[in-house]
Subunit: 256 residues, 4 copies
């Protein structure tokens, strides 16, 4: 095997008396008068400074996908917390495992489609490509990622607001435009309005901010971690774990 | 078995056209002009509004414990990400499992000690209790949670700054006072300066904010989730996973 | 910091043409005519050969705690599998996190009590100590680990059979005797029969086999991993994930 | 939304005095004189009885992929165990998350290819399809799943033995034949011998046993759970966690 070059890290270094996050002194620069976790963590992850318009969008995304009640993730977290309350982190980790292909992962699938559209030279070729994408999904009977919501109609209220905020931010990379273009073509093909959902809007906003597709899910993980901690906080005050267990056990009968 | 009362949730409700986080309309109230993830999530978790002084402290805590380079958690996350890059959430979850008793969990152990001191009526009884606590730990050869750091001397720079910020916030529940009191007694007993570390300062600040002890770890989990996503972002650009594997494999020899 | 001695591993070594598990050649010795996973893994974990009587007990333990229907662990696994079916291992991992203090972890707590009794010189001091242990638990209103089962009465059928098998194995370290002694004293103190449960019997059997207390949970983890894979197999054929989600969502109402 | 049919489970039912795994009484039928965990769990997962020849293969697979020293999974488990030793299950879960696409997941990718070949009517069309598959992988510079091993040459000793055992079992569904056929074509195209590896052999054996492709990974998860428990057992006796941490921290230097 050839010698591999020694890898390096740019995330953190420390001395006896200081800690540095990338090129910033943690104590002197980041724990100053204007401490802002969302800003520090986003810039730490993305390795660049964010404009205040971008930072506003990051905050909005993190808020919008943090919570949606007793979701599969929240149920998993609550059941595990009941079983191992000494191990809060495990209960959060269990729920986070649900940030997968079926719900949040659609962010990435949508972003990939939008990136294909953005790369095309003009609106005509984009509409053509959009129709082609839709046809493929229709043939395979796959939902179009980023569109439709089983609980919200006619619009996913989060999506509408996130897109509006993206417009206010003055983004110009074309992801928002192509999300809406794709939505128009979907409505035409299916002859009914299929709303853009929160993951679709999130994908477009992250695309506008040039977040790598395979890193997008990371922001969802952080946001959901916060939401799941809230579920644990509530579980500590108003436990549901055993109720859910009994409910499920008696509602799914045995049958050979 | 007696009928159990049906449990309820106060975290989230939704209608066809709206989502509410506790008593706030997500789109109209939380995704407004002053979107702030740290504020929304902290208030969601703690079920109360935070003063701007408190919010500043929450931001500082989340920033201060987010990152410390190639820690055990970060190593776990990187090794798992290499093995299953399609599953970012699993790599974060793996690292989060390290937020346990040996490092971050000391926040809780420290908070319990501080709460004991805070409950006492005057400084004399507190100093007495502090010496008693120290004696028990010394006898059992257990480190005092919240004190000492193997990398930072003579002070943990984060701890100093966090305490200073807590003073600026005007906290008055006595946790900061008793953390310092405990530190003084430790120095006296061991006849050398043992610094307050970041987890000790965090415990005192959360105690001042009346965060339940068994919920404190939740904030560390959120903060570390962000830090671990940064490690994955770096791994995508500068992979270390296989280097670490080869390094460990050849450095831990076989011996019967 | 003093130089630490380089640690070593005795678990595995490999050459270009062979792999060795401890001192055994994998291909030539372990994949021979009498391949037996339970034997290979138990001896690998415990670093010693097991008698056939011991091996029979290990098999019985692994079988007995593998499955108990729609438990909290199984619910978590199913909810996560629905969310991320591409990531089977994450769904199993989520469920395994439930092997904590409230259910399986009682194995360890029971084993600690039994070890205290075993260490005493005669039956009289053991009964005295047993009554003392019971009194402490009663005062603190804590259940005695290893005793009682909310679904099985008057006996936990698994426990009875496991104890019987332990007797057949001819164990003589005293854990089974002291489990029964403790049970007798519990019945006397509470003036009713409280059955030994499966975790109690498991603790005694592992104690007889000299499994370290803090390793006992490991066997439960392996056993439950198998059970959870069966739940995923069933979920692939007869999905329950969305049914459970809808059921829980509508059964836990919103209330401020 | 239309009423969904209530789902059912066939895995387990219990009465006050009995527990049944599928149609078997746990205590009377499974904890009898011939207790065998590998048999009980495999039949529980696959919902059918296994012949003794099949059971021998299941045991062999579980043994063969249980352990390979300080792998990424084992490193993750050891680092997490050091951080949270109170939470053994979390350390195993962390390592299990590494059973993903890059290593074990190749079982599935290989099985899919073999299934394509098995479905064809004669050897000629199979060889043609095999060359087509190889060409696609070569063009995309992707490794052929199930082939090649960076540590074992000229053969992966496990693979050879597993295939031999499959032949002894008299399997006739064609997966073993097509694995060897694919290997011959690979050697021809690359003009050198590329060995079948353990995951390739495992895929073929599971294909012969009609295990659904998307369930194959489940057996790897169970097997690795056992291997990771052995790593924890060793960590309890000869800790490596801190050594690995220090080693990695000093070997991956900071560079902006």
């Amino acid at each position: 095997m050839p010698e591999r070059e020694t890898p390096t890290t740019a995330l953190c270094r420390h001395t006896l008396t200081s800690i540095h996050y990338r090129d910033k002194n943690l104590v002197e620069e980041l724990l100053g008068s204007d401490v802002d976790f969302a800003k520090v963590m986003s810039e730490h992850i993305l390795a660049r400074e964010l404009s205040s318009a971008e930072l506003r969008i990051v905050n909005a995304i993190l808020i919008a996908i943090m919570e949606h009640g007793l979701t599969p993730s929240a149920i998993a977290t609550r059941e595990i917390y009941m079983s191992a309350p000494e191990n809060l982190q495990g209960a959060v980790a269990a729920g986070l495992m649900g940030v997968g292909s079926q719900f949040v992962g659609t962010i990435e699938n949508n972003a990939v489609l939008l990136a294909q559209l953005v790369a095309l030279p003009d609106e005509e070729t984009r509409r053509e490509k959009a129709r082609e994408i839709i046809a493929v999904h229709k043939t395979r009977k796959i939902l179009l990622p980023g569109f439709g919501h089983h609980l919200h109609k006619p619009e996913d209220p989060r999506a509408q607001r996130l897109i509006e905020m993206g417009r206010e931010a003055g983004f110009e990379r074309g992801f928002l435009d192509n999300l809406e273009l794709l939505g128009e073509e979907i409505d035409a093909v299916f002859a009914k309005h299929v709303p853009i959902n929160a993951t679709g809007a999130t994908a477009a906003l992250m695309g506008e901010m040039n977040v790598p597709v395979k890193l997008m899910r990371g922001f969802a993980v952080i946001s959901r971690a916060a939401g799941l901690v809230a579920h644990i906080a509530e579980e500590q005050q108003r436990p549901t774990g055993r109720f859910i267990w009994d409910l499920v056990d008696k509602s799914v009968p045995y049958k050979e």
